[in-house]
Symmetry: C2
Subunit: 79 residues, 2 copies
């Protein structure tokens, strides 16, 4: 089973990487750009095929390694 995890900064947490992308796009001539936020996208192949157990396993991975839950949110998609 495949799991996809999005890790994004919580609202209100400064995102210097996103800001740098925004400035770079503007200096390339792109107009009409508001906020830019950059997050991480992680794809995992799991041998677990039960969706409930797979989701719980990935949730633990997020809590323990993939996300810093003080400043980041995570979203898990299976399938």
């Amino acid at each position: 089973m495949k799991a996809r995890v999005h890790v994004t900064l919580k609202n209100g947490v400064l995102d210097p990487q996103g800001k740098a992308i925004g400035h770079a796009l503007e200096s390339l001539g792109f107009a009409g750009i508001g906020e830019v936020r950059q997050g991480k996208f992680i794809e995992l192949d799991l041998t677990e095929n039960d969706p409930e157990r797979a989701r719980e396993q990935v949730r633990q991975m997020c809590e323990r390694l993939l996300a810093n839950t003080v400043i980041e949110n995570y979203r898990i998609d299976l399938g």
Copy 2:
């Protein structure tokens, strides 16, 4: 209009970051993990409200800055 961009390494391109995540998960005791790939996830606020024009604008951003199209694929979602 909001645009979401996923930038992922093409198949066959070595992903040391993904490998490091996989090893770290294993040393934390997680079992049954196959391949792990890490990509980027970028959210942009655009003033453009026409979906066609917004998609074309973001496509150009990907080609010129957000993705290295030699080794990376990108996917654009609007909404």
